[in-house]
């Protein structure tokens, strides 16, 4: 952790020096000191985009977490089923492979027509991005369960369902959690695209207004807030994973 902190501090120092000494134009990249000032100002000041950083954060968190949770709720069971039951795989995989490469921003017009312009539309945009790693990793986790574990279950007379729930899913948990972490990161990544739809709050909206008003300090503040939040949530998920996958970790 210390080395990580030193690395970050070193990077910030390099960045600050590069701008202050003129190696990089301040017009092209504002220094971290200016970003820090913008961060602290935005904690209480709604200018220039109409809301404080806290209000933007709350708006974005609800949308990002909503899309993420929906992705987990639908993506994980779907991926597990696709990995274990061949008919489900044959039915779902072609549609999944077709939709998977489509970037979230391309969905905006269709989602607007189908779901309108409220939070539900933005949550759905995020869901479309975040569901992909859930499905892929859940499927991969099941497919990589060692055959001998399944044979042991069969030899003990376990039903397919019991083998699925008592052997395959616990075995797949580490891979599942990787997918969940990736899904969380993807949800935050898709946030800016989602908040291009009819937003007046949110970190993505704040970044867009920063762009419109040529305030790179606001843009970078928004970007770092998204990045930091994603990293913190990912770290929290890792802690949860360690508790739940003790068996898998010991292996």
């Amino acid at each position: 952790m210390l080395r990580g902190a030193v690395g970050i501090c070193g990077f910030l120092l390099l960045w600050e020096c590069a701008v202050q000494l003129g190696a990089v134009s301040a017009q092209q990249l504002c220094p971290p000191s200016q970003v820090a000032a913008a961060f602290f100002t935005k904690l209480a000041d709604p200018r220039p985009d109409g809301a404080t950083l806290g209000a933007h954060f709350i708006a974005s968190s609800s949308v990002a977490l909503g899309g993420f949770l929906l992705a987990c709720l639908i993506g994980l069971p779907l991926g597990l089923a696709m990995g274990y039951y061949q008919p489900v795989y044959l039915l779902a995989n072609p549609i999944f492979e077709l939709l998977r490469p489509i970037p979230p921003i391309a969905w905006i017009p269709i989602v607007t027509l189908l779901l309108g312009i409220g939070a539900q539309a933005r949550i759905f945009i995020i869901f479309l991005s975040a569901v992909v790693p859930c499905v892929i990793n859940a499927y991969t986790g099941i497919r990589h369960v060692p055959e001998r574990y399944i044979h042991v279950g069969q030899s003990l007379g376990m039903s397919r369902w019991r083998i699925f729930t008592k052997i395959c899913i616990p075995c797949a948990l580490p891979t599942l959690f990787v997918g969940v972490r990736l899904s969380l990161n993807t949800a935050w990544t898709a946030l800016v695209a989602a908040e291009m739809m009819a937003s007046v709050r949110g970190l993505g909206y704040m970044i867009q207004m920063g762009r419109l008003l040529i305030q790179p300090d606001i843009i970078i503040t928004g970007m770092l807030t998204i990045g930091s939040t994603g990293a913190l949530m990912s770290a929290l998920l890792s802690l949860i994973e360690k508790r739940l996958t003790k068996w898998g970790a010991e292996r």
Binding site: I108, V200, I214
Partner: protein, 359 residues
């Protein structure tokens, strides 16, 4: 042939060659090379004369080597300005103000008043049932009661937003009396078509499809006393390092406007090419309407906007109103507003020189 005769014939030959060369050069009408200029355009009416000057070789005739890039929006142009990607640009007043505050870009001239914002409602809307509520503006539909509480799809921090606030003022309302949903025009069109919102803000050419949808125009920008000029902008770097090129480009721009402004069809044909070549679909008929709605300032009219005491000219009044709008929205600070006044956003010297030269 003796030496004298040979000398005379050789001299006559070279003189003939020189005369022919001079004649050919003179016939081409091309001014000696002035230099190179990077131009940033959008798919908007103010970009059309610059586009014509380039594709018709008028810039080249003036000795300018022009390289144009078409951007999707003012913010995109300003990002490129931050990277020194262009010298001059055509844009709206709001991004020009941001370009000045961030990068010291300067407005060379105002070239036309924005005339494309339209506010549409559905035919069954209560707004559409009321007219004449605003004295002197019979084209504006609705009144305070019918507009109050409505959800308006509108891109914020734009000329359309500025015009909307002026419209609300005329109706006796404020921004707090309605619910503005920030959407760019393309998305807003889709959303309104899907049943979202009560009022949609569009600009041309997107707005041309609105009446086909059965929507009713509740208000039209040019009918509202909110004056939002479209402008020509130069980077400070270009003004300092390429003054001849900038002035020459300004001249070709106004030459096109002056010589061709009576020929809407000619302008429309180039508007059709400029927009369709840059992913904005417009028909021939729409491109004619697109141009016919716009009244370009001539060189003399553009120069007249700067007559008077600095800070109090007509141009100042137009930009100050927009700057005040930005301050009111919290988008710029009062200090930024004062900076716009103190360190003038305008650089009309080239324009004034050209007007003087034109006599």
């Amino acid at each position: 042939m003796n030496h004298t005769q040979l000398l005379h014939r050789t001299t006559a030959f070279f003189l003939a060659v020189l005369s022919l060369t001079a004649a050919l050069t003179g016939c081409s009408g091309k001014t000696s090379d002035v230099g190179q200029l990077n131009v940033a355009l959008q798919t908007t009416a103010q970009g059309v004369p610059a586009y014509i000057a380039e594709v018709e070789g008028i810039d080249a005739q003036a000795g300018l080597t022009v390289s144009s890039t078409v951007f999707a929006s003012g913010p995109a142009q300003n990002e490129a300005l931050g990277a020194n990607e262009w010298d001059v640009a055509t844009m709206g007043a709001p991004p020009a103000i941001m370009a000045n505050l961030a990068y010291d870009a300067r407005i060379l001239a105002l070239v036309l008043m924005e005339a494309s914002t339209e506010f549409f409602v559905r035919p069954g809307s209560e707004i559409a049932q009321v007219s004449g509520a605003v004295p002197g503006y019979p084209q504006i539909l609705g009144d305070a009661d019918t507009w109050r509480g409505k959800t308006v799809l509108c891109p914020v921090a734009t000329t359309s937003h500025f015009i909307l606030l002026t419209l609300l003022e005329m109706l006796g309302l404020t921004e707090a009396d309605i619910n503005i949903i920030n959407m760019d025009v393309g998305q807003a069109y889709t959303a309104f078509k899907a049943g979202q919102g009560d009022v949609v803000t569009l600009w041309d050419p997107v707005s041309f499809s609105a009446e086909d949808e059965g929507w009713v125009r509740a208000a039209y920008g040019p009918d509202i006393p909110a004056y939002t000029p479209c402008v020509l902008v130069a980077s400070q770097k270009a003004i300092d390092e390429k003054p001849e090129q900038v002035k020459a480009w300004l001249k070709t721009y106004f030459d096109v406007v002056g010589q061709l402004s009576g020929d809407s069809a000619y302008f429309a044909g180039h508007a059709y090419d400029l927009l369709n070549d840059n992913n904005v679909t417009i028909t021939q008929e729409e491109s004619l309407l697109f141009i016919q709605r716009k009244k370009f300032f001539t060189l003399e009219e553009a120069a007249a906007l700067f007559q008077g005491e600095s800070g109090s000219t007509q141009a100042d009044q137009y930009l100050n109103a927009i700057a005040d709008f930005f301050v009111g929205q919290g988008h710029i600070s009062q200090e930024d507003r004062e900076e716009l006044l103190a360190d003038s956003i305008f650089y009309p010297m080239f324009l004034e020189e050209l007007a003087g030269e034109a006599g």
